[in-house]
């Protein structure tokens, strides 16, 4: 090969290329680099950390180490890459490969010491063009803007209105009139609590003539526990909350709800958002961390777990860490960090190296399930525990299980050290590894060094999965173990157990993080330490590099992104669209804010008022901007088709969970219990069966649990509850900062025919008949479903329907009985209730 190349070089008649004369950098090398290499390897875009536009940077190399080794062309990665014949490995990746002559120039240059004269221009640094890090609006500090002047001062209720009105006046647009009182109350109640107002609440509000009747309603609703549920649901989207592992067997996580409960309680107490942040990301690292603070760290237990047999544990863990890194970036920074997993971010100033620095914070932590007794659980447990342990020990002695477990552990450890020697045990190891969390770590640690909780985990795993104890030799043991298992289960059932919670802990010592080249966990690049991106304010100098420092940094005064990103998502809950429409992306590819000063004023207000979410929510819902009518304005169809200027409110289709809530509430079926474990309402056969090898079991709840709010429906990630999917609930695999609102025929079928909604219609019919005199029933039904009285035309149409449809049903006794078994003579009311609950208005907040 070398000979052929040499011959070729002679023919090129360039003496330089004989390797005797060094190529001239400026004349021969630099133009070649500039043409073929620097487009992807420069100060702004340094793929794999490599740069060829700067001497020091080029010689320093990239994420995988040096790329130019002076004097040693064959050891220089640049030569290996340009001479490779492998697609995807050869550089440059696009366009023709370098010609042999070009390669020879590079080779000769490196052979001769890779001389790279200092750039004369570099001596006096010229005014370099400003980078996005300096100029992009969201990366600049939050400065509280002065309130703008407006003409129509009577319209202004609070500073929000000043900013919105100033803009409208600039455009020559008048705001819309205030919505009617009934619309206002329904809007407010749905937005704050996710539930429609009751007829009594509507009537009380209509007859409340105090000038601050609306504000009183706001305070009443802000204090409701349902306010906390509704805020929590929005945060659950961002936190990609689900009740199952998300992959393959998709095992249910029976304790996931403990974190959800923590979130609801935090919103109910209006926990300051900085504390809310710190406890979820690093509650375990707080001095004297309480149980509640540990439960808060369940935030990052919402990432997926692959328990597929034979899974590579390093790969699974890597995917979890990527998920945690990306979620953190979306939730607090509004950054699409995921792009930098494989390469420097194309648009935002986030380097791949910085991605792994962020990743490193999470790399240093590990999952841990802890005992987290619910109120009242600990006493009985403590009292009876000694007796239980005694009985269990006796049982273990009786069956000699301790020795058997020790033998099993020894064999497992031996197999992990000697893979491929005994296939049966190999299988036991490959299968156990993903199923029992930290299997290898626990087994290697050994019984003596494990904590009591860890020993329990290993013990139960062994008892249920004794592995391939050889049938010929151990048949009696297996029989014994089966009997032991039965006796143990019986014993366990007789004694109380403690509830648990899924939390994070810090690893000691911390493992080293490496850049994963091209985002491949197997391709280890340079080591990195935990840090934050350089285009954002730095971490305090001496702070330990852990999650606690990261969390405190996220909510520090200097961080411009967190308050902007968070108030924007709050805004989105009340107008459907954020001031920044791309609430998941505040980078250079996101949309700029419609009202930049308002966003900054809110961000600054949020921070100054102790990060109070309720304060911001109160400001929003008491503004004139919020209280406008949502009627579409023909005059603005061209001028502001998306209503970004906010000259009116938006009509918003309710979110999936709230549609269910509205139906159950209107019909009186709703179970308003707040918090607690997830529930399984009825679901057609065949939905759960889609999950892997029938491993997903959907055992319907009986009794009151069937009628709980939508947010408590168990979210089985690979076979989610169909109604939630139909109405755009997020898949919960990754962080979701804004939901879509689609409109489909399957939604129509769902609301028309789902037994849950049919049952609600029947209950609504009964309720109307029970609660109202015949002539008031139509009013009552409208109040219950739409929070308002019917118009004359609507009433007339309803009357006609009840009469005509009722007359037809009178001749169809069987059908009437199916529609309303308890009062077939009123069966037409079930149809009327179905119609009302299928109205666009019913699933819309005006």
């Amino acid at each position: 090969m070398r000979g052929v190349a040499g011959l070729y070089l002679l023919c090129t008649s360039s003496l330089v290329l004989l390797g005797q004369t060094a190529p001239d950098f400026r004349r021969d090398v630099e133009p070649l680099l500039a043409k073929r290499c620097t487009p992807c390897h420069n100060a702004n875009l340094s793929q794999n950390g490599v740069r060829f536009d700067d001497r020091e940077a080029a010689l320093a190399g990239g994420y995988s180490g040096p790329v130019i080794v002076p004097g040693k062309p064959e050891e220089s990665k640049i030569i290996q890459r340009v001479t490779s014949t492998k697609n995807g490995f050869r550089m440059p990746p696009a366009g023709p490969p370098l010609t042999p002559a070009e390669i020879a120039v590079l080779r000769a240059w490196i052979q001769n010491g890779a001389e790279w004269p200092q750039d004369p221009k570099k001596q006096q640094p010229s005014a370099e063009p400003a980078t996005p890090a300096q100029t992009h609006w969201s990366f600049r500090p939050v400065v509280r803007p002065p309130l703008p002047n407006v003409t129509l001062r009577s319209w202004v209720r609070n500073p929000i209105d000043r900013f919105v009105l100033a803009r409208l006046e600039r455009e020559g647009i008048a705001p819309s009139p205030e919505a009617s009182k009934t619309v206002l109350l329904r809007r407010l109640t749905l937005d704050l609590t996710g539930l429609p107002p009751t007829p009594e609440e509507v009537q009380a509000f209509l007859s409340d003539s105090r000038p601050d009747a609306y504000e009183q309603a706001v305070e009443r609703l802000l204090a409701s526990p349902h306010y906390a549920e509704q805020r929590a649901r929005a945060w659950l989207d961002v936190a990609r909350y689900g009740d199952s592992d998300g992959l393959e067997k998709d095992l249910v996580r029976p304790w996931a709800w403990r974190w959800r409960q923590w979130v609801i309680e935090a919103f109910h107490r209006d926990m300051p958002f900085d504390q809310f942040t710190i406890e979820q990301l690093a509650g375990d690292l707080l001095p004297g961390a309480t149980l509640e603070q540990r439960i808060a760290t369940g935030f990052h237990r919402n990432s997926l777990t692959n328990r597929e047999g034979g899974t590579d544990p390093d790969e699974s863990r890597f995917e979890q860490l990527v998920n945690r890194t990306n979620t953190t970036a979306t939730a607090w920074l509004g950054l699409t960090a995921g792009c930098a997993q494989c390469h420097d971010h194309k648009y935002d100033p986030l380097k791949q190296k910085e991605y792994y620095q962020l990743f490193a914070f999470f790399h240093r932590s590990e999952e841990a399930n802890i005992d987290a007794p619910l109120p009242g659980e600990y006493g009985p447990w403590m009292r009876r525990r000694p007796e239980y342990l005694e009985k269990r020990a006796a049982l273990i002695r009786e069956f000699d299980v301790e020795a058997l477990q020790e033998e099993w552990e020894e064999k497992i450890r031996w197999t992990m050290d000697n893979p491929g020697k005994d296939p049966d045990w190999d299988f036991a190891v490959s299968n156990s590894r993903p199923m029992l969390d930290r299997f290898e770590y626990l087994l290697r640690k050994g019984k003596k060094n494990r904590t009591e909780k860890e020993n329990e985990a290993v013990f139960y795993w062994f008892v249920r999965n004794p592995g391939p104890l050889k049938p010929d030799r151990d048949i009696d043991k297996i029989r014994c173990l089966a009997e032991f298992r039965r006796r143990l289960e019986k014993l366990d059932a007789e004694y109380p157990r403690l509830s648990e919670a899924m939390t994070m802990i810090e690893l000691d010592p911390p493992p080293q993080t490496y850049i994963a080249l091209k985002g491949d966990f197997r391709a280890r690049g340079l080591p990195v330490e935990p840090d934050v991106p350089a285009f954002l304010p730095p971490l305090p100098k001496d702070a330990p590099r852990n999650r606690l420092t990261l969390a405190r940094w996220l909510v520090s005064r200097e961080n411009p992104l967190t308050p902007r990103v968070v108030v924007n998502r709050i805004w989105q809950e009340f107008f459907g669209t954020g001031l920044v429409k791309t609430s998941e992306d505040f980078g250079t590819q996101g949309e700029p804010p419609s009202h930049p000063e308002l966003l900054d004023w809110l961000a600054s207000e949020f921070r100054e008022q102790g990060w109070s979410v309720k304060h911001i929510v109160r400001l929003i819902v008491t503004s004139s901007t919020y209280r406008q009518s949502s009627h579409v304005r023909r005059d603005l169809k061209d001028k502001d088709p998306e209503n970004r200027l906010l000259a009116r409110q938006n009509r918003l289709r309710l979110q999936a969970e709230n549609i269910r809530d509205a139906a159950l509430a209107a019909s009186g079926l709703l179970n308003t219990q707040v918090g607690g474990p997830s529930v399984r309402p009825p679901q057609p056969k065949g939905v759960a069966e889609l999950g892997y090898a029938n491993s997903v079991k959907w055992v319907e709840d009986e009794g009151p649990a069937r009628y709980r709010r939508g947010m408590y429906i168990l979210y089985q990630r690979t076979a989610p509850y169909p109604m939630l999917v139909n109405f755009d609930a997020p898949d919960s695999f990754t962080s979701c900062a804004r939901r879509r609102r689609s409109n489909s025929p399957l939604q129509a079928l769902n609301l028309l025919n789902d037994p849950v909604f049919f049952e609600a219609a029947q209950a609504l019919a009964m309720r109307v008949i029970r609660e109202a005199k015949p002539e008031e029933r139509i009013d009552r039904a409208f109040l219950l479903t739409l929070g308002r009285l019917p118009t004359g035309r609507e009433r007339e149409r309803m009357e006609r329907f009840l009469q005509e449809h009722g007359a037809k049903l009178a001749g169809r006794a069987g059908e009437a009985a199916s529609l309303l078994p308890l009062a077939p003579e009123h069966a037409a009311w079930t149809s009327a209730a179905r119609a009302l609950m299928n109205l666009e208005e019913f699933i819309t907040r005006e």
Partner: protein
């Protein structure tokens, strides 16, 4: 390409209308058509034009979940006999990523007999006599490659282009790109047989696309579409009268608020109503003549379930449904390879071949792309979980080389693409990565895969991620 923004679109249409009035009405329809939008383009599922005329209008993706063993079905490897019982050479073993087996496991020959079929002489195993009879319509790819070696990540890569969950699946992309031609059925339909798959609903999710691009499961039991039937005891008359009442009240409210979202809601209720009669008609196979029932094996208990899905797939194509995903599970033969693979073939071989032939005789094969395969392949080395029983031997997951096949719209049949080494371990000729397959499928439908994109999280996402090349050799 962006999700049609209704308001923007309406404005654009009004603008075009005004412009058109100035320059004469000629231009309007053409301008709209050039955008791939028809008059009812407020419907996001209205048919849209691809980047260039594609041969295929429909896709039937026959997903054999779990990874069918290529060396026992499609890729004859007589050399396995020669090396039987030996470990792989170190140079190969070092490349392996295995789920269960260890690298020094022994080579396991295939007991199958391979014979050439058709004019093209493509070799198939004796487990697939019926599919083999379609040899001249089949483009067999023996050089498939993927990056994942566990099921759920592998399925995610095959259907979404990424092992990280949460992106739109192939069917959703196709529906997003082409819209639906069916006026009363969903545009992306899923048929399932056997047990559930690792990916479950994530194999037909719309990811970050709006939910109307989600696959709709056509169910085996109960309603063919979830919540399709009226509630028990509710007559069609009552249903209609209820809908009429809701429609009238909706129209009242539309007049008051001026929000066209209400008009879309009314239209969707009407579509739902039509679906209520169209879907049962679709699922009712009693009108299929005897010779068709026999051809598919509809009345044989062994083939019945898969045959039902195959006939349904054809009927869906006939009714304009864009993308049909058939999921059959499981082909994950870690153990009892011979026994269980044979069972799977017995269940599916005849109906699969019948589907191809039936589409062909109805002139639908040219416009329907059929794709058959799993998420990866299986190892040439043995997996043993029970040393005592030789019959229990199986094969582990193998992502480096495996087989899939395509037929119909846009594909040149009667050919083999790619070659593997004598052990079937690695690809030695014309590697086809999963991303290349995706690019080729989109090409057959008329899309440049790099231009079928959706903006999300500040980035234009696409099915092929940042990879993929159309495999020109596959094309007709």
């Amino acid at each position: 390409m962006q999700e049609p923004d209704l308001t923007a679109l309406r404005n654009r249409r009004r603008f075009l209308k005004e412009v058109a009035c100035g320059i004469g009405m000629m231009g309007l329809a053409d301008l709209l058509a050039a955008e791939g939008r028809t008059a009812d383009s407020a419907n996001p599922l209205a048919p849209k034009k691809p980047h260039f005329p594609g041969k295929a209008k429909h896709v039937i993706f026959m997903f054999m979940e779990g990874a069918p063993s290529q060396m026992d079905l499609f890729d004859p490897k007589p050399a396995l006999q020669k090396y039987a019982g030996q470990p792989l050479p170190e140079s190969l073993a070092s490349q392996l990523r295995l789920a269960f087996t260890k690298k020094d496991a022994k080579i396991l020959p295939s007991p199958r007999v391979f014979r050439p079929h058709g004019q093209s002489g493509i070799e198939f195993s004796d487990f697939l006599p019926h599919i083999a009879s379609c040899a001249d319509d089949i483009c067999l790819v023996r050089s498939m490659q993927t990056d994942a070696f566990n099921h759920h990540p592998g399925q995610a890569l095959l259907f979404t282009g990424s092992i990280q969950l949460g992106r739109p699946t192939m069917g959703a992309w196709v529906l997003y790109g082409l819209g639906s031609e069916s006026k009363n059925l969903p545009g992306f339909v899923v048929l399932s047989s056997g047990v559930g798959t690792s990916g479950g609903a994530s194999n037909f999710s719309c990811g970050f696309l709006p939910s109307h691009y989600q696959g709709t499961l056509l169910r085996n039991t109960g309603d063919p579409i979830l919540y399709l039937s009226n509630p028990p005891g509710v007559s069609p008359e009552t249903q209609r009268e209820t809908l009429d009442l809701a429609g009238d009240l909706n129209r009242e409210h539309l007049a008051e608020t001026g929000d066209e979202e209400i008009a879309s809601r009314i239209a969707n209720y009407e579509l739902a109503w039509r679906m209520q009669s169209a879907a049962p008609e679709l699922a009712d196979l009693s009108s299929e003549p005897q010779h068709i029932r026999e051809m598919y094996g509809l009345d044989d208990p062994v083939t019945r379930q898969f045959a039902t899905n195959c006939i349904l797939a054809r009927r869906l194509v006939e009714r304009g449904v864009r993308f049909i995903l058939m999921m059959d599970a499981s082909w994950d033969q870690h153990t009892y390879l011979n026994r269980d693979l044979q069972k799977n073939c017995n269940r599916t071989d005849k109906p699969t071949a019948a589907l191809i032939k039936d589409l062909k005789q109805r002139g639908l094969l040219d416009s329907t792309l059929v794709v058959w395969g799993g998420e990866f392949g299986r190892t040439p080395i043995v997996e043993i979980r029970n040393t005592a029983s030789q019959e229990s031997y199986g094969r582990d997951h193998h992502p480096l080389a495996y087989s899939m096949w395509l037929a119909g719209g846009g594909i040149r049949g009667g050919q083999v693409i790619g070659k593997t080494d004598e052990l079937g371990f690695s690809v030695v000729e014309d590697p086809v990565h999963v991303h290349d397959l995706q690019a080729t499928i989109l090409h057959c439908l008329g899309f440049d895969h790099t231009r079928l994109t959706y903006r999300h999280m500040g980035r234009d996402f696409r099915l092929t991620d940042v990879h993929g090349q159309v495999v020109q050799k596959m094309l007709a």
